[in-house]
């Protein structure tokens, strides 16, 4: 038996069912595949970020000791302003953040300008040399500076070769401890800022300098009116990341002083948080964490708003 060409085939029930199934499958895929693609990230995000955040927020209203937890409402938050160590840690953090911004960014800019100059030789080597400390991390830098700044270390021995009776206990003196952290931190991250600023300097339109030259602008005027506006986005980024880094400072002073340092000079907000964690008081630690998060968010928003405002200004 055979069918003539063009004649309609009788419906094949299994094939029709299969086609329908296939269609449903494609429709299902079209509808849900984006969710499947997003699922791995979403699941990990929920488990490792959202859940801990929510949990820590809930914990911040509790008191914990060992396996016991009590709801205490806002007591942990209310305690912080009454604790002297909280204010010491806040002032230390503010000091370090301002010191980083005021010392590090100008230093990075000077280095970047020098390395951008045609007169400087061996730029690649210098660039790597300045950037290298940023690769090793805070703990390593702290260990190095513990040795460099030791009582009989190379820094003090050099100073004593000029001033024989100088007593400079960088690590144990409350007066010198904070400068020690700033010096170590500058060594660590000035090169990092320099690399960004160097890239920004190199991307400033050369024609603008030529035009400024024609208009009779001097070097300072060119820097102020051409260079700075040209690198402003990078400067904003560095100020923002520097501020956040300063607010979150912990490892460097903690390793340098093997604790919170003389007179709590190394007690930053995160170290203060850690001190409560060490006591097993997760509730107070969480409250401090949320206060810090709030401060970081507010400061970042303010900085972004200022940067945006100055950009939009005529």
């Amino acid at each position: 038996m055979s069918l003539e060409p063009g004649a309609a085939r009788p419906a094949d029930p299994p094939r029709a069912m299969s086609a329908a199934r296939s269609e449903r499958w494609w429709a299902f895929q079209a509808k849900y595949s984006p969710y499947f693609f997003v699922a791995p990230f979403a699941i990990l995000f929920l488990i490792f970020l959202v859940y801990p955040l929510v949990r820590s927020f809930i914990l911040s209203f509790h008191q914990t000791a060992g396996s016991i937890t009590h709801f205490v409402g806002l007591r942990n938050y209310a305690f912080l302003p009454r604790d002297q160590l909280f204010w010491i840690s806040a002032l230390n953090t503010l000091f370090y953040t301002l010191a980083f911004l005021l010392c590090q960014i100008p230093a990075a800019l000077i280095l970047a300008i020098l390395l951008n100059s045609k007169r400087v030789k061996c730029k690649s080597i210098l660039r790597f040399a300045f950037f290298a400390p940023a690769l090793v991390g805070q703990v390593f830098v702290a260990v190095i500076f513990t040795l460099l700044l030791a009582n009989n270390g190379p820094v003090n021995n050099t100073i004593r070769s000029v001033f024989p009776t100088a007593e400079l206990n960088w690590i144990s003196s409350p007066v010198l401890a904070r400068p020690a952290v700033v010096i170590a931190s500058m060594w660590l991250s000035t090169g990092f800022g320099m690399i960004y600023l160097l890239a920004a300097l190199q991307s400033v339109d050369k024609q603008l300098y030529e035009a400024a030259d024609v208009d009779g602008a001097g070097r300072w005027s060119q820097f102020w009116h051409v260079t700075l506006p040209g690198i402003r986005p990078v400067l904003t980024f560095l100020i923002l990341t520097g501020t956040i880094g300063g607010l979150q400072l912990f490892e460097l002073p903690y390793v340098l002083f093997n604790g919170t340092g003389p007179g709590q000079a190394g007690l930053t907000i995160v170290a203060y948080l850690f001190s409560w964690l060490e006591l097993g008081e997760m509730g107070t630690s969480s409250a401090i964490g949320w206060v810090l998060a709030g401060v970081v968010i507010v400061v970042s928003l303010v900085q972004v708003r200022i940067a945006r405002g100055s950009k939009e200004a005529p």
């Binding site: 008191q63 396996s67 016991i68 604790d83 009582n151 009776t165 144990s172 709590q264 097993g280």
Partner: protein
């Protein structure tokens, strides 16, 4: 030709991740847990327990225990901070099973955190019953059980007594014509130290100081306070930072360390190697020396061999003690340990028997708190490094008279507050001398007391009395 729509690099990374993950799963290291697992933070303890450096046929308590009980023992060396974090988390989560160690060593500066919960919720097992049942009552130095106890419940067995002496460079003091050991009281000691410095200033040593004292850390101050019978947080969790004895000691301390006619002290860099080198260089002539420091000085300052001597701490007029205590370690059994009886048997073997204590006693100067081993002949031996003095004999004499030291979560906070008071007091003395110093310090100590009390109140659990 195989093509991959996301590009070759992604394909290579995906394949590598799959292969690495697969290999990792297949050859995953399956570590068999020993029957008894001990966590320690001190490398020296780890070496002692494992018999590292000993002759193969030397007696080893761990090996004897394994032979006698047929149970395997693993001693794990874990960095102190990691050990405390893991243990705290286990206690917090009430962890049970193989993850929980059977025995743990904890250092005195970190033990307070474990005593925050009410006694029946502390993560360590109470040991009073074991001590009584196994006949150890009265055989362990009573004052050394105090740091490891809460409300009379003992949670750890001490490894040491750590009496504090003064170690001094006898050669330098003798050159200056001073017999420092004759200083029976603090005023006499102070006077001798000033004479020592005067001699060396006249002989071209402007940077030679008599005594190691910290200008920012309250360790030495706390050592002096303990000698005077003051715990900054006492056994009733009462803050005693503004005790009149604290004020008097602080005033003396400030005058001893700050520039001025009374100065005898100078800071050294932190770390056992650093202070030993400062001692060897002659930067300092004497220092507070708990028994554990004697070994470090010997190891890190070999040039001082035969030049050093030890003496008891000079006496305070209002205290019977000629010594203090500094540092300490305990061993405890976690409440969720699998077999507490077995854990106790090993603890007993390592910490309380002569075989277990022999290596520590012979290799270091650490005095065990178990009085039954104090008649070991080693206590009569003279020590060439310390000018042929019977150093261990002195340690033993002082060890039976160590003041009690109490530890609570607030102790660390109180000590930190005291450090800040010290710094402010020194700064004030530096600027104004003695004028108004006493009132100023009294105010600082009151403020510090309030701050510590507020922290205790904040950290107190609602169901605690």
């Amino acid at each position: 030709m195989i093509s991959f729509h996301l590009g070759k690099p992604i394909l290579v990374m995906a394949v590598l991740a799959l292969v690495a993950g697969g290999v990792g799963m297949v050859v995953r290291r399956t570590e068999n847990r020993a029957d008894i697992e001990v966590w320690t933070f001190a490398e020296s303890h780890w070496r002692t327990f494992n018999g590292i450096g000993l002759a193969p046929d030397a007696p080893l308590p761990k090996r004897d225990f394994e032979r006698d009980t047929g149970k395997s023992v693993s001693i794990k060396l874990i960095v102190a901070r990691a050990l405390n974090t893991r243990l705290s988390m286990q206690f917090m989560g009430d962890t049970k099973g193989d993850e929980v160690p059977d025995l743990v060593e904890v250092e005195i500066s970190t033990v307070g955190r474990y005593f925050r919960p009410p006694v029946d919720q502390v993560g360590f097992l109470p040991l009073n019953d074991f001590i009584k049942r196994r006949g150890w009552e009265g055989k362990i130095v009573e004052s050394r059980l105090a740091p490891w106890s809460k409300d009379g419940v003992i949670f750890g067995i001490p490894q040491d007594v750590h009496p504090v002496m003064i170690t001094y460079n006898a050669e330098l003091f003798e050159q200056a014509g001073i017999d420092l050991a004759s200083s029976a009281t603090w005023p006499a000691f102070w006077k001798n130290c000033l004479a020592f410095q005067k001699y060396w200033r006249e002989h071209g040593e402007p940077r030679r100081w008599a005594l190691e004292l910290s200008e920012s850390n309250s360790d030495s101050l706390v050592t002096m306070l303990l000698q005077r019978g003051v715990n900054v947080v006492d056994d009733q969790n009462q803050v005693r930072v503004n005790d009149p004895k604290v004020l008097a000691t602080l005033l003396d301390y400030v005058r001893m360390i700050d520039d001025g006619p009374q100065r005898i002290g100078a800071s050294t860099a932190s770390g056992n190697q650093s202070y030993s080198q400062d001692f060897a260089s002659g930067y300092i002539g004497a220092m507070f020396c708990p028994d554990w420091r004697l070994k470090y000085v010997k190891d890190y300052a070999p040039s001082l061999a035969g030049k050093l001597k030890v003496m008891p701490m000079p006496a305070w007029p209002d205290s019977p003690y000629r010594t203090s205590t500094w540092g300490g370690t305990m061993m405890g059994i976690p409440r969720n340990a699998r077999d507490p009886e077995l854990s106790w048997s090993l603890l007993e073997k390592l910490y309380l028997t002569p075989e277990g204590l022999a290596d520590t006693m012979h290799r270091t100067y650490i005095l065990p708190p178990v009085k039954t081993v104090w008649n070991d002949p080693i206590f009569e031996e003279t020590d060439p490094f310390y000018s042929n003095q019977p150093v261990r004999k002195l340690i033993r004499e002082l060890g039976s008279n160590v003041p009690p030291r109490y530890v609570s979560p607030a102790s660390t906070v109180a000590q930190a507050e005291l450090s800040m008071v010290l710094i402010k007091a020194i700064a004030r003395h530096h600027a104004n001398g003695d004028a108004g110093l006493e009132e100023y310090c009294r105010g600082l100590l009151d403020e510090a007391t309030n701050a510590v009390a507020a922290r205790i109140a904040h950290g107190r659990m609602d169901d605690e009395p």
